[in-house]
Amino acid sequence: MLSKIQNFLIPSFLKRLDFWLLTHKPHIWRTRGHFVVFYCLIAAFLLYFLGKMYPQNFADFYDGDYVKNNSVVLYLKSFLAFTSVGIIMWWYSIQKFSYLRTNFLHFLTEIGIYTLGICSISLFIFSFDHGYSYRQAFQLEKNSREDSLWIVDNGLFCYGYMPHFQPNKESNLAEYFKKGENLDAMLYNRQAIVFNILKDEVKDNNDYISTSSTDAFSYSHWEYPKNQKNYTRPPQYQVPADYVNKILTNDTFWKQEEKRLKFK
């Protein structure tokens, strides 16, 4: 029964390789490295997709600490679940065959095979996490874009630095703005300053602009967006740089904004 399962699980090319190593390179064969590398690659590939499919709460992504902590837990779990078990199983399979005599070249080859095998086993960790992160980043970008659009469309990003416009218990800036509160020239100037800061950030970052707790975006949207949980401190956004850049260089937008701020 066991041999039937083995026959099913081992592809013919791997059987041929195994036989060739057995009858030509016994020192490599005994390490079982070829099986370890092959099945680890398959497992890594499957885990990558599993990572992508893994249920995720995208609201959590706004909290940088959560993502970071979650990754650490994920790494530890992966290590315990796969690496340790993989290494123990490999060690057991090596014990099956008695070790005779080896020369230095064989010794080095074996060390190389073992290293390759351990790296292959470690792929489990990265593949799952990479799949998980890929989806995270993809979804984050989508959410960030939507949020950024909303933020920019509502002209909110400029108010964060203004102490007298800090949000309070009663209302946040979005509602403040929707209610049509008075805005003056100072606001417009202040907006320009914030844009200049953003421009600098765009120069330095090609992909995303990280909004730290001191950033305009964060302060401006303490309770935004709708997915956001009740945090004790401002969340962080990953705003696509190209989007921000488009806005910063969009004259039509500026004119509309100027018009809106001045005459509202």
Binding site: T23, H24, K96, F97, L100, R101
Partner: protein, 398 residues
């Protein structure tokens, strides 16, 4: 045994209907005297054909005749190859030489004292003696497994071509079959392939040698089995296959007969005798055992160890030649007093009881016939009878 005698032996086995033994010896013949791999491949295939058909109960007389005919053809082919190539065998060169070896284990007050011994290619040396009298210690020292406290240990055959040969290499050249066989993992055939490959037998040659040893030792039936599916006898035979596949010059077997039935013992010892006396690849075999008669059957030399000392070390055939007495052992249902009466006419006869059997010591002039006649004269039927006048067994009679 020269090539003609070897050929006649195979022909006799085949003609007398003992095809199994005949094919085995033919395989030895082809291996020793043939010169092409093709002849070895063919004899292996014939053996496989014979064994698989036998297992399937499809061995017809026609098939037997066909196989016999082909085997004889291969014998002729190998013989022609031999005379064409003028192959030279290795001869009886000394591989291990021990002089004045001593070893002490103060914790159990055991001492191996002043041991001298030579081991030669193509000779089987039986090491016998009671338990815990130094047999294993002696063998382990001889093959470099254990360091002696005193004495000289040399390997003249290996040093001849390579004076700088080291211990590591020497140990690599010794095949060792321990008393407690370690469990094999995976397929048995893979284990044999692995062992052969580790000793430099690679590729097609690896497959050929593995198939050869499987057929030669009659392991066809279990070649794809696992260790747990084997009986004690087959476990030993596979261990022997693993030891012999890379054609070692020294083979050490520690109590191999301990757990074998009579048939298995006969098979193992016959194979061992044939393979050790190979023309092309003779082996120096060291075999320890409590089965004195069985060991005497195959051994060229006997070493008797008692309390760490050598009591006898020499040719098996020469033991007891100078004795002035004969010793017989037998068992029967008669009372000792009846036996005294039976042997009353043999003045020198001394009977001793050893529990379930008796020993009879007489003058050298008393023959086996006389003893049997004496028993018959009193209507005593022996259930078992053996002349041990030339056997080291007499040293173990209490």
């Amino acid at each position: 045994m020269d090539i003609n005698n070897r050929k006649q032996e195979v022909q006799w086995l085949l003609s007398s209907g003992n095809l199994e033994s005949g094919i085995k010896r033919a395989m030895d013949f082809v291996k020793d005297f043939g010169n092409t791999k093709q002849t070895i491949v063919e004899i292996v295939e014939l053996s496989n054909q014979f064994n698989t058909n036998k297992l399937d109960n499809q061995l017809t007389n026609d098939l037997k005749q066909q196989i016999t005919f082909k085997v004889l053809q291969l014998l002729d082919q190998a013989e022609q190859d031999f005379f064409k190539m003028q192959k030279v065998g290795k001869g009886n060169e000394t591989v291990i030489l021990l002089r004045g070896i001593s070893k002490s284990f103060p914790t159990n007050r055991f001492h191996l004292k002043n041991i001298d011994a030579d081991f030669k290619l193509g000779e089987i040396t039986g090491i016998v003696g009671p338990n815990a009298n130094g047999k294993s210690t002696f063998m382990r020292i001889a093959v470099g497994e254990l360091l002696a406290d005193k004495g000289e240990l040399e390997y003249p055959y290996f040093k001849k071509g390579n004076p700088k040969i080291n211990w590591d290499t020497l140990k690599y050249l010794v095949a060792y079959v321990p008393q407690e066989l370690p469990r094999w993992q995976g397929q048995l055939k893979d284990n044999l392939r692995y062992e052969a490959a580790l000793h430099g037998i690679l590729g097609h040659e690896n497959e050929l040698e593995v198939n050869y040893i499987i057929e030669r030792l009659g392991l066809t039936r279990y070649q794809n089995a696992t260790w747990s599916q084997l009986s004690g006898g087959y476990k030993l035979r596979f261990a022997l296959a693993k030891a012999l596949i890379w054609k070692p010059l020294i083979l050490v077997l520690d109590e191999p007969l301990a757990n074998l039935d009579v048939n298995a013992q006969t098979l193992v010892l016959n194979d061992l005798k044939d393979l050790a006396h190979s023309f092309l690849n003779p082996i120096a075999v060291l075999i320890s055992s409590q089965h004195i008669h069985e060991i005497e059957y195959v051994a060229d030399n006997i070493i008797v160890l008692e309390e760490g000392e050598i009591k006898y070390n020499g040719k098996r055939s020469e033991y007891g030649i100078t004795n002035e007495f004969n010793i017989f052992e037998f068992s029967c249902s008669a009372a000792p007093i009846d036996l005294e009466e039976a042997f009353a006419d043999i003045s020198s006869a001394k009977i001793r009881s050893h529990g379930y059997y008796f020993s009879l010591k007489t003058d050298k002039t008393v023959s086996t016939n006389q003893v049997l006649m004496a028993l018959q004269g009193k209507n005593i039927e022996p259930e078992y009878f053996r002349d041990i006048s030339r056997s080291v067994k007499q040293m173990f009679l209490s």
